[in-house]
């Protein structure tokens, strides 16, 4: 089965009001080209589930978001994501603020077809006070109360992988695949953007096959987009773009989403990449050292 499609064709599965999970972590391996294609579309009222970075910030700023399910939205070296901060402080979006681990459990519950997974996370904190739909339950096996973390069922997952073949076998060559496997498994449809498309025999090497974290039947669409994670990183191919993130923060602060979109979004991904120096410049971005 050939799953290679354009970003626009893949994103046509996303309808108003859907719940969309976005893989990656903060400024790292975010499917930003897919996010930009979403920004250029008419879709709205989305619920976004993510370990958020500029993906969440931009979608909030562009008024495509009804609700964000999050534990943080951060660019790491810049602890507070500027557009998300602004949207939050203006009360422009609804939120469900949960712990990082609760988010993982919610994805696992969805992947496994469970209505919830019991956990102690959230007990004694405002997480359960502020999200009253997250219930506490009795255990049949002990006398303690447990938080019943509900399944985070996703209509669509967007993730960025290093390489894939046309049938949807995806390699993440980065040192961490984060929770991307759980985003994909929690979703009815998964759209994977990749830096490189390879022939299927690329995966014959067992060392490479070990970097495949979900089965191809979990991938519905593959979008070939070199540099597609920019300005987030796609380790080991390129690092995140500190200078661009700084410019992004300035533009959001000065003129909001319109200022950033006017300077950078462009009519398609080629135009975007030209506005940030071209694909060669993206692929030359150094990897961060911690």
């Amino acid at each position: 089965m050939n799953k290679l499609v354009s970003a626009q064709d893949a994103l046509s599965v996303i309808q108003d009001g859907m719940t969309v999970g976005i893989g990656g972590w903060g400024p790292r391996r975010k499917p930003m080209a897919l996010v930009r294609a979403l920004l250029r579309s008419d879709v709205r009222d989305l619920t976004i589930v993510a370990y958020g970075g500029a993906d969440v910030g931009l979608l909030c700023a562009s008024e495509k978001v009804k609700r964000v399910v999050f534990a943080f939205v951060s660019l790491d070296f810049m602890p507070l994501e500027p557009a998300f901060r602004r949207a939050r402080e203006q009360g422009a979006i609804e939120v469900t603020e949960i712990d990082e681990g609760m988010l993982l459990l919610g994805l696992r519950a969805a992947a496994w077809g469970c209505p919830f997974i019991p956990t102690a996370i959230g007990l004694g904190t405002d997480v359960i006070r502020n999200a009253p739909h997250i219930q506490q339950v009795d255990s049949p096996y002990d006398d303690r109360e447990w938080v019943a973390m509900p399944a985070l069922n996703l209509d669509v997952a967007l993730v960025h992988a290093t390489r894939a073949d046309a049938s949807g076998v995806c390699e993440i060559a980065s040192p961490d695949h984060y929770m991307d496997d759980w985003f994909v498994r929690a979703a009815a449809h998964s759209i994977v953007s990749v830096d490189e498309v390879v022939e299927s025999d690329y995966f014959q090497n067992p060392e490479v096959a070990r970097k495949v974290f979900w089965e191809r039947n979990c991938t519905q669409f593959v979008v070939h987009q070199p540099g597609g994670a920019h300005p987030s990183s796609s380790d080991p191919l390129y690092g995140f773009d500190v200078a661009h993130f700084k410019r992004y923060a300035e533009l959001i602060g000065e003129g909001g989403y319109e200022a950033w979109a006017g300077a950078f979004l462009g009519s398609d991904e080629f135009a975007y990449q030209q506005s940030v120096g071209g694909l060669d410049a993206i692929q030359a971005l150094p990897l961060p050292v911690y």
Partner: protein, 270 residues
């Protein structure tokens, strides 16, 4: 021997890991990371530590001067999903810097003021604090001891469980909650006072108890040990190891003005 206040705080904070045995030590922020790395290099070599990315290390990485990760002492892959397997096993001790701490030891890194729908100031979000606080040991690092951090009432957003009877979950006791120490630029505090209330463990050299009380929004007890002990000053060996862990001296940029560890007498200036 001269040393900075940052170095004094690193050494004081490193001691929170002394008796931990084989647990994952996580210091978030430069000084807490140095504290955990110092403990692993001296008093508790059994500690486990990551590269802040995706590998466990048998020897801590330096916090400055590292040019790439290729030569680090990897032990095992430790991606973020696997961190949670460790967190939920309880075998972890985190040293973190909250924006607010209240008298119950509850903390806040999420937001300040306003409402849940529209906070006055959005901070980080709750991140992993709720899970960390119910599953494993936590200590706190406060670079600027003030009433803005040590708040009078409850934290604006309670991100981590503390010793608050009104929020104790059914079936739980305070013994299930493990808050170790708070290391500030003035003193060390724990929660071993009556009914798990905050207690000053030691004062840094030259700090008076009144200064701590003036800058804390709630009462702190002092136990029986008056006068209060002085926080131990760094040893030559500790300072040498800190220098190796931070060759570019980023620690000198963490506290405003990089104050000395021993306060100058009143009226003298640097």
């Amino acid at each position: 021997m001269t040393f900075s206040l940052a170095e004094l705080m690193i050494c004081a904070a490193s001691r929170v890991f002394d008796e931990d045995g084989e647990v994952l030590a996580t210091g978030i922020g430069l000084l807490p990371r140095l504290a955990a790395s110092l403990a692993m290099s001296t008093t508790n070599p059994d500690l486990m530590m990551t590269d802040s990315q995706s590998f466990m290390l048998s020897k801590p990485n330096p916090v400055s001067g590292l040019t790439d990760h290729s030569t680090q002492a990897c032990e095992n892959w430790m991606g973020f999903s696997r961190i949670f397997d460790n967190v939920w096993s309880g075998a972890r001790h985190a040293l973190v810097g909250p924006s607010q701490i209240d008298r119950f030891g509850q903390t806040n890194i999420s937001a300040l003021g306003g409402t849940y729908a529209a906070p006055k100031v959005q901070l980080l979000g709750v991140r992993g604090f709720p899970g960390n606080s119910i599953y494993h040991a936590n200590s706190f690092f406060v670079p600027q001891h003030s009433r803005r951090v040590f708040v009078e009432g409850e934290c604006d957003v309670v991100c981590s469980i503390g010793y608050n009877p009104a929020r104790l979950p059914r079936g739980y006791s305070f013994e299930d909650i493990d808050i170790r120490q708070v290391i500030t630029n003035l003193c060390v505090i724990d929660f071993s006072g009556p009914e798990y209330r905050p207690r000053v463990v030691s004062l840094h050299p030259g700090v008076a108890l009144d200064e701590v009380r003036d800058n804390t929004g709630f009462d702190v007890s002092v136990g029986d040990a008056l006068p209060l002990p002085e926080t131990a000053v760094p040893t030559t060996e500790q300072l040498a190891i800190i220098s190796q862990l931070d060759p570019n001296n980023l620690r000198s940029k963490q506290l405003k003005g990089d104050p000395p560890g021993l306060r100058l007498p009143e009226g003298e200036s640097t």
